[in-house]
C-alpha cells in the first residue's frame, strides 16, 4: 500500500517569542511579528527591523487582519473527493495522493499537453518551483499563474525594452525621486504602505502626476491629474514624448549611448500633438504639456504602474511606451529613478522568477534555448523536456472547451472569480475530465474539482517570498495547520514522488530553496541560512553567497542582447470594444483597500467585511440623472458576456461615459477576455457596457423600449 511520507514542521520560535512573518496580501512584502501564547496568536508591529519595506512596521487594514482567516471554521481540514459537482466526501491523504498521481500519469501517458497546471502567486517560491518542475517533468510546459491576469504585459514589455521583467529600483528610489508618475495605479488603495514613499517625496517637494480614468484617492495627492479615457494610454504616452522631444528636453547623452530606435520613435510621435491627443484621451492639451515638461525637467523621475496600464489588449505596447518615456528622459539605472511596476500579490514576482510561466525555466531561462534545456534535463535527471511553449491561463480555458485539456491542477488560485469573462471559465471547468484544487478554503473554483487537497495557509508554513522590489524574504511558521492540512511543497513533492519521478524527495522546505539556488542564476546566493539571518531580505540578482544583492538594475548596461534599451515606437489603437448604441458606456474595474482579490482570505475577516461589504458601481452624476439612478439604487450592468447586479454610487470620481465596479465579488462575468497578442493578458480594464436601474421603476424603463 502507498504510504505518504512525513515531513519536518517546525513552529519556528519558542512560545512567547516573536515570530517574524511576511504579510500574505499584496506585493509590498510588509514584515510583522506574531506572538504565540498557548493557542492564542497576537499580531505585533515589526518596529525594530531595519530597512524593511514597511518602515516602522506599519500595516494597512488587510495587514492588521492577517490572523483572522487562519482560525476560520470553513478551513479545509481533510482531502476531499467529489461525489457529484459541489458535493464531497472525506478521504485519506494516502488515497488522495495516489488518485491524483495515477490520474495525472494516465492523462500524461496519452499526451502530456492534455494537462494544465496553475501555480500560485499567494504561496512561497518553493512550492511554485516544484509545481513547474512537476509539469515539465511530466512532459508539458502548460504551466502558468495569475501573473497572466495582472503583470504579464509588464514582463514581456520590459523584457523587450530593458531585458528583464521586473521593477528596476526599490521603494527608497520612489522616495528620492523629484517627479513621480503614477500610471493606472491606485497606489493609495492597492499598496497603502508603499504609498508612504510617495508622500515622503511629495513632502520634500517632488511633483506627483497621476494618470487614471478615475479620480482615485491617489489622485487626491496629485499635482497634475491626467484623467484619460480607459484604453487610451499609448496616445497619452506618445503625447508626453512628443512634447519632450519637440522641446528638446530628453536626455540626449543617454539616448545616444544607451538606447536604440530613437529615430523611429521621433517619426511615430510626430503626429501626437497635445491637441490631437486631447481628442483621443479627453485630457486637456495644456495639462499634457505641463506634465511632460514637469517630468522631463525633474532630474530624477520614477513611473509606477499597475493594472490600469497592463490589463489591456495593448498591454505589451502600453508598457513599452511607458518604459520608452522613462528611457528618453534618462531615468533608468540610477538612484531616485526607475520603472516600478507594482505587483499585486505577496509572491507574484517570485512565482514568475520560479518559471511558473509557459515559456521559461526558473530565472527566465528560455525553454527554447537548447543549452538550458540540456542543463535542466541533467539537473532534474530526466530524459525528456518539451521545448514547445505551453498555454497561458485564458488560452487554457478555451483549450478545455475544445477538449484539448483534460486534467487541470490548480494550486491556490480562484479563476472562477479572477479570470476575465468568468462565465466562460465556469463552462470550461465543467468539461474537464479531472481537476485538482489545492487550497485553504472551498473556493468558487474548488466547487468544480474532483479532488480537493487541503493546504496550510501561508502563515502556517515557512519559505521564501519575493516582493515587488525583487526583495526575497523568509517568512516563518506561526502555528500548525488545522486538521490534516499540509504545506503546499509537501503536497506537490508527494505527488511527484508517487508518480515515480526521481528527485522529488524533500524533507524540509530549505532543501528546495537550495535546489533553486543551483539552477536559478538570480537566486544563486539567496540561501535559506542567509534569509533567516537577514530579515530585511536580499534583492535579486544575487549570483553568489558573498554578493550583497542588487537594488538598482541597469546601472551600466541593459540585459538585452546589444546591452541597450530598445525604444518602442507604437501607435495608439482603440480597446477591443468601443461603446455603441447598445452598450453606450465604457466599463472599468477597480478594487477596495480593505478587500483582497477574490475574498478567499480577506472575506473571512469581520473587521474588513463590516467596512467593505459590497460592490458599488460608480457612475457620473450627469449620466445617473439621465437614467434616473440615485445613490444605492440597484442597477444591472450588462455587457456582451454577462450581467451583474449591484448598487450604484453616483460620484464624480469617474468621467462621463465611464462606469467603474470593484471586481472582488465576481464582476469579472462582465469583462472582456480578448487577449493581448504578445503577453496574452485579457482586456479586463475596458469594455463596452450598459447600465439599467432595477427595482420599482424598471417597468417604466422597459415600456420606453
Amino acid at each position: 500500500m502507498h504510504i505518504v511520507k512525513t515531513y519536518v514542521h517546525e513552529v519556528s520560535a519558542l512560545k512567547g517569542e516573536l515570530i517574524p512573518i511576511v504579510c500574505p496580501y499584496c506585493g509590498v512584502g510588509c514584515r510583522a511579528y506574531v506572538k504565540v501564547r498557548g493557542n492564542q496568536l497576537n499580531l505585533e508591529y515589526a518596529t525594530d527591523i531595519e530597512n524593511i519595506p514597511n518602515e516602522k512596521g506599519k500595516l494597512c487594514p488587510k495587514g492588521n487582519t492577517i490572523l483572522d482567516h487562519l482560525s476560520d471554521p470553513e478551513r479545509l481540514k481533510k482531502p476531499l473527493k467529489a461525489v457529484e459537482e459541489g458535493k464531497f466526501k472525506e478521504i485519506s491523504w494516502n488515497k488522495a495522493v495516489k488518485e491524483v498521481a495515477e490520474r495525472l500519469k494516465e492523462i500524461a501517458k496519452d499526451d502530456p499537453n492534455q494537462l494544465m497546471f496553475l501555480g500560485s502567486a499567494r504561496t512561497f517560491n518553493e512550492p511554485n518551483y516544484l509545481l513547474q518542475k512537476l509539469a515539465r517533468m511530466l512532459g508539458t510546459n502548460n504551466v502558468d499563474h495569475c501573473a497572466r491576469l495582472c503583470h504579464a504585459s509588464t514582463i514581456t514589455g520590459l523584457v523587450s525594452t530593458f531585458g528583464a521583467g521586473a521593477m528596476t529600483n526599490t521603494y527608497k528610489d520612489i522616495e528620492q525621486a523629484n517627479c513621480i508618475i503614477i500610471w493606472g495605479h491606485n497606489y493609495a488603495e492597492t499598496h497603502p504602505v508603499g504609498f508612504k514613499y510617495v508622500l515622503k517625496a511629495k513632502e520634500r517637494g517632488a511633483k506627483i502626476i497621476v494618470v487614471d480614468p478615475r479620480l482615485t484617492r491617489t489622485a487626491w495627492f496629485a499635482d497634475i491629474h491626467l484623467q484619460h479615457y480607459p484604453g487610451t494610454d499609448i496616445a497619452l504616452a506618445n503625447g508626453l514624448m512628443h512634447v519632450i522631444i519637440k522641446k528638446g528636453l530628453y536626455d540626449k547623452k543617454f539616448v545616444m549611448e544607451r538606447t536604440t530606435g530613437f529615430n523611429e520613435l521621433v517619426k511615430v510621435v510626430e503626429k501626437y500633438t497635445p491637441q490631437y491627443v486631447e481628442k483621443i484621451t479627453g485630457v486637456p492639451a495644456m495639462l499634457i504639456e505641463e506634465a511632460a515638461i514637469t517630468f522631463a525637467t525633474a532630474g530624477k523621475g520614477v513611473i509606477t504602474w499597475a493594472m490600469g496600464l497592463t490589463q489591456s489588449v495593448h498591454g505589451h505596447d502600453n508598457v513599452r511606451a511607458v518604459a520608452t518615456l522613462l528611457a528618453i528622459c534618462g531615468y533608468i539605472g540610477r538612484e531616485g529613478c526607475g520603472a516600478s511596476p507594482m505587483r499585486g500579490q505577496n509572491n507574484v514576482q517570485g512565482a514568475c522568477d520560479m518559471g511558473v510561466l509557459p515559456d521559461v525555466f526558473p530565472g527566465y531561462q528560455k525553454i527554447t534555448d537548447l543549452e538550458k534545456l540540456e542543463f535542466f534535463k541533467k539537473f532534474w535527471k530526466v530524459d525528456y523536456l518539451s521545448d514547445e511553449p505551453g498555454l497561458t491561463v485564458i488560452e487554457a480555458s478555451y483549450a478545455i472547451s475544445k477538449g484539448k485539456i483534460k486534467g487541470y491542477y490548480v494550486m491556490g488560485e480562484n479563476p472562477v472569480i479572477s479570470d476575465a469573462n468568468s462565465n466562460h471559465v465556469i463552462k470550461a471547468l465543467r468539461k474537464l475530465e479531472f481537476m485538482v484544487v489545492q487550497d485553504i478554503f472551498l473556493t468558487e473554483t474548488a466547487q468544480f474539482a474532483d479532488i480537493i487537497l487541503p493546504a496550510a495557509a501561508m502563515l502556517e508554513n515557512e519559505g521564501s517570498l519575493t516582493n515587488t522590489e525583487r526583495r526575497v524574504q523568509w517568512s516563518f511558521a506561526v502555528k500548525k495547520p488545522p486538521g490534516d492540512a499540509k504545506p503546499d511543497w509537501w503536497i506537490i513533492s508527494e505527488i511527484g514522488r508517487t508518480i515515480g519521478l526521481g528527485s522529488f524527495n524533500y524533507l524540509k522546505v530549505e532543501d528546495i530553496l537550495r535546489e533553486i539556488n543551483q539552477c536559478t542564476p538570480q537566486y544563486g546566493g539567496i540561501t535559506p541560512e542567509r534569509l533567516k539571518e537577514k530579515l530585511a531580505g536580499i534583492h535579486w540578482p544575487c549570483p553568489n553567497e558573498n554578493h550583497p544583492g542588487t537594488k538598482i538594475l541597469y546601472r551600466e548596461r541593459f540585459l538585452t542582447q546589444d546591452e541597450k534599451a530598445h525604444l518602442a515606437a507604437v501607435e495608439h489603437k482603440p480597446p477591443a470594444e468601443l461603446p455603441n448604441d447598445e452598450y453606450p458606456f465604457i466599463l472599468t474595474t477597480h478594487r477596495y483597500v480593505g478587500q483582497y482579490h477574490t475574498l478567499t482570505m480577506s472575506g473571512k475577516s469581520p473587521s474588513l467585511a463590516k467596512r467593505w461589504s459590497e460592490p458599488l458601481a460608480e457612475i457620473h452624476p450627469e449620466d445617473a440623472a439621465k437614467l434616473g439612478i440615485k445613490n444605492k439604487d440597484l442597477v444591472k450592468l450588462v455587457t456582451r458576456r454577462g450581467e451583474y447586479i449591484c448598487k450604484a454610487l453616483v460620484t464624480r470620481r469617474v468621467k462621463k461615459g465611464v462606469i467603474a465596479v470593484p471586481w472582488h465579488w465576481g464582476a469579472n462575468v462582465l469583462t472582456n477576455d480578448t487577449l493581448d497578442p504578445i503577453s496574452k493578458i485579457p482586456d479586463t480594464k475596458a469594455c463596452a457596457c450598459n447600465i439599467f436601474k432595477i427595482g420599482g421603476e424598471i417597468n417604466e424603463e422597459s415600456t420606453l423600449h
Binding site: Y45, N54, K58, L59, C60, E203, L215
Partner: protein
C-alpha cells in the same frame, strides 16, 4: 509628560487601517475615518481635551486623566448615566451595552504601559496619525513648512533671476 495624538489630514488616504487596528485592540473601533466631498479624508477620535467637559460633568468621578494626558474611564466607578456623551462636543463617549458603562478611546493605555504607541498610530501607513509631545510635533510641522518655502524660493530665483528670500 503630556502627550497628544495629532492628525495630519493632508496625509490621510482613507485606508481605515486605524479603525481596524483599534478594533483589534479594543473589540470595537474608537476612531472613525470620514471622507468629505470625495476629495479628502480625516480620522476622528477623542481629543482628550485640556479642559475636558466629560471629566467636569461626571457625577461619580469615573473619568480621569492619566500622567500622559489621556482621558480614561474607570469602569468600576461608571454608572452609565451618559452625561459625558451629552456634554462632549465631538460625540465621542458611547454606552457599552454589555457592561453598562461608557467606553471611549484611552490612547491604548495597555500598549503605552508596554512602551508602545497607540495601535492607530503604530499602524497608520502614511504617518497621518502621530503620537508624542505636542509641541515637538508642531515644531516639526513648522520646520517642514519652512523647508518647503526655502525650496520654492530657490525655484523662483531660478525662474525669475532674483531671490524672494
Amino acid at each position: 509628560m503630556k502627550k497628544a495624538l495629532f492628525i495630519d489630514f493632508s496625509k490621510c488616504i482613507e485606508c481605515r487601517a486605524c479603525e481596524v487596528a483599534c478594533e483589534r485592540e479594543h473589540g470595537k473601533s474608537h476612531i472613525f475615518v470620514f471622507e468629505f466631498e470625495g476629495m479628502i479624508a480625516m480620522a476622528f477620535h477623542c481629543k482628550h481635551c485640556e479642559k475636558a467637559p466629560c471629566i467636569e460633568v461626571c457625577p461619580t468621578n469615573a473619568l480621569y486623566r492619566d500622567e500622559e494626558g489621556a482621558v480614561l474611564v474607570a469602569p468600576q466607578k461608571c454608572i452609565g448615566c451618559m452625561m459625558c456623551a451629552i456634554v462632549c462636543p465631538f460625540g465621542i463617549p458611547e454606552l457599552d451595552s454589555v457592561n453598562k458603562t461608557m467606553s471611549k478611546c484611552n490612547l491604548c493605555a495597555h500598549r503605552r504601559a508596554e512602551g508602545k504607541e497607540p495601535a492607530c498610530v503604530a499602524t497608520c501607513p502614511t504617518d497621518a496619525l502621530l503620537y508624542g509631545d505636542f509641541s515637538e510635533i508642531i515644531r516639526k510641522r513648522r520646520e517642514t513648512f519652512v523647508k518647503k518655502a526655502m525650496k520654492l524660493g530657490k525655484e523662483s530665483k531660478k525662474a525669475l533671476g532674483f531671490a524672494f528670500i
